[in-house]
Every structure is written in structure tokens, then in C-alpha cells.
Amino acid sequence: MSLTSVDIRTLVLAGLALAICAGLPLIDQGYWLGLGVTVIMFTVLATSWALFSGPTHYISLATAAFFGVGTYVTGLGFDTLPFWSLVGIAGIIGAVLAALVGLATLRLSGVYFVIFTLGLAELVRQVITWVQNSTGARGLYVLMDLDEADIYWWLLGLAAAVFLTGWLVGRSRLGFALRIIGDDETVAAHSGINTARAKVLLFMVPGAVAAMTGAILAPRYVYIEPSLAFAPILSFQVVIMGLLGGASRLWGPLLGVIPFTILLETVSSNFPNQTTLVIGIAFLVIVYVLPGGFVGLMDRVTARINQQGGS
């Protein structure tokens, strides 16, 4: 693989940004670190979500399902296995689950996929609740020697991996195939691209990442139960942040994550009953005001400036 000077500059800048972010726990261990964990969690989730949904335009609502599975991997295994292996196992389970979901639904049109992923979290939740009820077990205590700063650094590492994956996919044949699929699926199929295979492969990325995120965050919850681990609202937040920032660029979702996390934190601490309203309005804003997200808006503004400069 050959790297151009632009690529090297991007990598160096990304490394610098990562190093700066890594310093946060050294400055503050309280409110800002807590916010930092939330921001980085949504960055990881929304960026990996956009890796799949950006080029394909398929809206995945499965994040909560994968995330919940991940928290349960840690919850069930932290007594016997080291933490890093649990994160890895969660990733593998997430990828396999995503492959199964993808194989069942990605051959069909987008609507089937949305409906299926929308109910997936609920499906897994009902099954786990049922298993717990029939075995008499309740929730799980996750008591681990892992503080907020450790979780933060784990998530930051995962974020770096997600960005690197996205960058590599963007340069690969798979990424090229996906852009053609996104433009016109029929054309893609006729030019010999195995569209279903490409989509399933790529869908495994957000599946694995969301499960790993859940595994990393499980110690933060201390006590996990199905309704907490599989909260469907998470899937919607990820979709909003991804689209608000803009799913057409790798760094796009980041632009949505930061403002929306802060907005939602503010609303939920001051008006806890209005969070659903905010989420609803955010969806409408994305569709009617900001199609393409902030990235799309920036593109339009720069295009206008260039046009005026040229004329």
C-alpha cells in the first residue's frame, strides 16, 4: 500500500488528536471525564454505524442489541476470564450475530432490514428475561477493579481502531464496491459486485464494535439487567448522531456526537420527561433541515464560497 503525503499528514494529525484526548483523565476525574466517556462511547458507536449505513443508506437500529450482548459477555465472564479476552469474545459474538442478521435481511430491501433491526434488541431482551425468569436468576453484578479512566482509555483505543478500520475500508476494494452499491444497487449488481456479501461483511464491523463497547462499559453499570442493557433508545441516539454529523465522511459522525451528547445531557438533567421530544425533533431536523448532516451543510457552504470566488 502506498501512502501519499496527505495520508501521512492525516495519520500524524489523528495520532496527535488521540494523544491529546488520552490526557483527559489526568486533568479531571469527575464531570468532564464522565462526559468524555459518553462522548467517546457515542463516537465509537456512531462512527462504526456510519461505516455501514453511510455508503449503503440502510438504517441499522441493531446497536442496542449488540451493545447489550456485549455487556452480558462481561457480566457473565468477568469472574473467570481476563477483561481483554472478554472484549475480544464480545467482538466475535457481535460479528457473528451481525452476519446472521445480515444474511437473513440484507438480500432484501431496506425496509425489511430496518424492521428487523428495530425489533432485534427487544427480541434478545425478551429471550434473556425469559431465561433469567426460568432459572430464577435476576440481574448480574459486575464488580470489577476498573475505574472510569480505565474505561475511557479502553474506549479511546477502540475509537482509534474504528477510525483506522474505516480509513482502510475506504481505501479498499470493499469500500469502492460499497460506494457503487450506495449510488445504485442495480448497477452494482450488474457490474459483477456481490452486493449481499459486501453488505454482510461491512455490517459485521458495527456489530462487533457495538458488542465490544458494551463489554467495555459493563463495569460502569455495576448492575446489569435486560431492560438496562438492551435499552432501545441507544440505537436511536446513535442513528441521530451519525446522521446529524453526516455519514458520508469518516469523521462526520463526530460532528454530531459532541453537540447532541451535550444537548441530551442538558435536557435529561433538567427536563427528564422531554428527552423523547428532543429525539423526535432531532429526527425531523435531520430530514427537513440538514439532509447530509453538518458535513453536507459544510459542503454546500464551501461550494457556494468557491462559486462566488470563481465568478
Binding site: 432484501l108 430496518v114 425478551q126 425469559w130 435531520i286 427537513y288
Partner: protein, 288 residues
Amino acid sequence: MEILITGLLLGGTYALIAMGLNLQYGVARIMNLANGEILVAGGYVAFIAYTAAQLSPLLTIFIVAPLAFGINWLIYRIMLQPLVTRAKNRGQLETDSILATFGLSFIGVGLMLSFFGGDYFSYSFMAVPVELLGNSYGANRAISFAMAVVICGALYIWLNRSRAGLSIRAIATAPASARLVGIDVKRLSALAFALGGAVTAVGGALISTYLTLDASTGVVFTLKALIIVIMGGVGDVRGTIVAALLLGVLETTVATLIDPGLTLAAAYVMFLGILLFRPQGLFGKKTT
């Protein structure tokens, strides 16, 4: 036998709700994910009318239906028609309408939460047993089923016998060609969407007589209606009814024999089976 009849009674109401969604998706091409909120809103109106004025839910539906019709007509005209106009292809309209109706769904939940709070609501209407084939069932269930049959039947006849019904079926089959033969696609799409909303809201009013609802249960009904519509084949009335009855029976079976908490999981397994083996739906024709 008892399971079968309870399931069929439940399935009848499901059929009504799914018919509403089918009109919206099959004709107006809007995958309306706020459908469940319209249902719950219909249930709330029935609840309030009954507790405040002792008005029978069977009469309330005459208020609910025009109200929901009007609201859904406005929603279509103001919010969804611009999306239809701007969409470059079917895929983009699908994505846009999914996102927009998700927005409406959350706003609906948010509004109902702030007006009525998050509590479950239920009321006791005709909770007397009736005898059917040796077992007794709630009269409210039986009456809801009967009403659903009447409404579904009327819709079916209207779609198959009337001029407007013919046009609507033409749009469902081939929207581009329908325009060529002088059908006002815009107006009839809005009509179908509004009608679908009205049917769903009436379904909500009926279902509230025997199921407990709360502000955020809408999504469960949306999911069930979607599963039914897809199982039956989009735009197919007979398929919808058969799929709804099947789902009602399956859910009741699972709830009675295994665990009431697994009903949606059961619906999903059935949905998955359909996706794997007959993605075009039970009665749908195979497309390439």
C-alpha cells in the same frame, strides 16, 4: 380450542391495525413508523371519553375516526408529501420517510407522556364473560373482533367495488402508470394515508377495551403491524387478514404455554421464517 379462539379474537383486531398500515405503506408508499402512536392516541381518546363521560368506546370510534383522518391527512400533506416530491428514487423516499416518521413517533410519545404521564391506563368495559363453544371469553374481546370484522369487510368491499377503491388499487400496483390514466395520485395517496390512520386509531380504541396501554407501547404495535403487513404481502388485503389471525393465534399460544413475555420474540421468529422462505409474503407474487 380456548387458545385458538382467544388468538383469533386478538388477531381480528390486529388485522384492523395492519390494514391501516397497509393502506399507508402499500398505497401512499410511506412506511409509517408512527402508526403505533396513532393507535395509542385512539386508545387514550376512548379511555378519556369512557372515564369522563361514560361514553361507550363503540360510540367513541365515531369521534376517533374523523379526528385521526384529519390529523393524518395534515401529516401527509404537510410533512410527507414534500419528501415524496423531493425523493429521487424509491430507496431515498424509504429512508426519508422512515426517519421522518420515527421523528413523529418520538414526538407523539413525548406529547402523550407530558399530557398523560407514563402510567398504564385501562378501564373496565363490558368485562363480562360470554360463552363461545363451551368456553367463556371477555365480551369486550368478542365485540372488538366483531367491529374489526365489520370495518375490514367494509374496507374490502370499498376497495374492490368503488371507483376510488379501484384507483387506490391501481396506485398500489403501479404508481407511475396510474398517473398516465388520469388518476390523481397525490390526492388519493393523501386519502389512503389518512384513511389508514383512521383505521389504526379505531383499532386502538377497540384494543384499549381489553388491553392495558401506556404512552410508550406504540412501537410494539407498530412492529406487529409491520410484521403482519410484510408476512401477508404488501398491499394484499387477504394476506394481511390471514397473517394477522396467524399472529394472534401464535402469540396466544406462546403466551399461554410458554411465557407471556415472549410474544414479540415469537412474532419475530415467524417473521424470520417468512423472510427466509417467502420474502414476497404469504400471498405475494414472486418478483425477480
